[in-house]
Amino acid sequence: MPTPIKVLVVDDEDEFRNNMVKLLHMQDNIEAEGAESGEVAVTMAGEREYDVILLDVKMPGLTAMGTMERLKEMNCPAEVVILTGHASVDDAVQLMNLGAYDYMLKPCSTRDIVKKIAWAVENKVVS
C-alpha cells in the first residue's frame, strides 16, 4: 500500500482553504491539512514532513516569497506549487527561481491540482 501523499494547503481565505483540504483529503492517496498563513505553514512544516505544499501568492503577513525563503532555510524537502488568482509573470519566475515546482492559475479544477501534485511528487522522487 503506497504511503499517502501529505499535502499542506496554505491560504488565508478560509472557505477556499477548507474546501481544498476537504476535496484533497477525499482522494484515495492524499492526506491534506491547512495553514491560514505563511507563518503557520512554516511552523507546521517544521513539525511534520509534507510532500507537497500548495501556496497562495497573495497573503497578508509573511508573503509567499518570504514563506519560501524560510522553507529553504529549513531545508524543507516539500515541493511547492503556487496557486494564484493573478497571473504576474514576474512573480512566477521569482518563485520558480526560489525553487517552486510550478504555478497554477485560479480557478482550476481539483482534478488538475491532483495531477500537478502527482507530478510534483514524481519530480521529488527523481531528484
Binding site: 481565505e13 477556499f16 474546501n19 476535496l23 477525499m26 497571473a87 509573470v89 492559475l105 485560479k106 480557478p107
Partner: protein
Amino acid sequence: MQGDQPNTHVPTWLAWVLPLAVPIAAVLAGPWTATVAALAASAAAFSVVFALGRALERARDRAVSIQDQLIQSQKMASIGQLASGIAHEVNTPLMVIGQDVELLEMVLAAGNMPEKMHAEAESCLEGIRRQVDRCGEITHKLLGFARKSDTVAQRIDANALVEDMVMLVEREAKRQGIVMQREYGQVPEVDTDPPLLRQIILNLLNNAAQAVGRDGVVRVSTRNASGRLEIAVQDTGPGIEPEVMDRLFDPFFTTKPPGQGTGLGLSTSLYIANRLGGTITAANAPNGGALFTVRLPLDAAAPAAAKAA
C-alpha cells in the same frame, strides 16, 4: 502634435511678399497697373488665408482623431489595470464556487434522491461548472491582456512579415474559397517589435477572413505613406455598420454570437499599435467591405507621444 505641420498649398513666404508687391508695383508702374496689382494682391492674400484656414482645419481634424486614439490608448491602459484588478479578485470566488460544486456532486452521488430529481440536480451542477469555466476563461484572457512587457525594437522587412501571416491565413482561407490578394509597396526596413506586429496583422487578417466567410477576397497592401508604414487589410465582407463604428475597438465589443470570441482581438491590436507608436483605423471600403489600416512609424524612436500611454 509632433510632425503634424499644416499642409498649405500656398507657401507662407508668399503671404508676406504679396502685400509688399502692391506698393512696389504702384511705385514702379502707372495707376492702371497699380489697380490690377492691388486686385491681384487681394486675391492672392484671400487664397492664402483661405488655404491656411482649410489646412488648419484638416490638421485639427487629424489632431482630433490622433487625440482620440491617444485617449483610447490611455483608456485602454487604465481599463487594462482595472480589468486585471477585477480578474484577480474574481478568480478566488470563482474557485470556491467550483469547489462547492464538486462537493455538492459528491453529496449527490452518495444520496438517495429519486432518479428524475437526481438527473435534474446533476444537470444544474454541470451548468454551474460550465459557467464557472467560462468566467475563468474571461478572467484569464483579461489577465493576459493586461500583461505589459517592454516592446523590443528590431529592424525587419515589413513585407516579409506581413506575407508570413498572409500565408498562414491563406491555408485555411483557401478551403473556404477565400482569395488572399497582395499588393506590397516599396517599403524600407522598419524598426519595430516583430512578434507584436505579427499579432496585429494576424488578428486583422483573421477578422477579414471571418467577415468574408466564404468565396470572397481579402486584400493586403503595404506602402510608405510620407515616412510612415501603412498596412491595409480590406475584405469583401458585409462591411462595418455605422452604429458599430465607434465601439469597434472597445474591449469586449464583438459582433459574434455570445460565447464565440471574446471581443478582445481589436482592442488588443489597437493597444499594441499604440505601444508601437502607431494607430489602427477602420472604415468601410468603396466596394462595401471593411478596411483596416495600420500606420506605424518607420523608426521606433520617432513619435514618443503615443508610447507614453
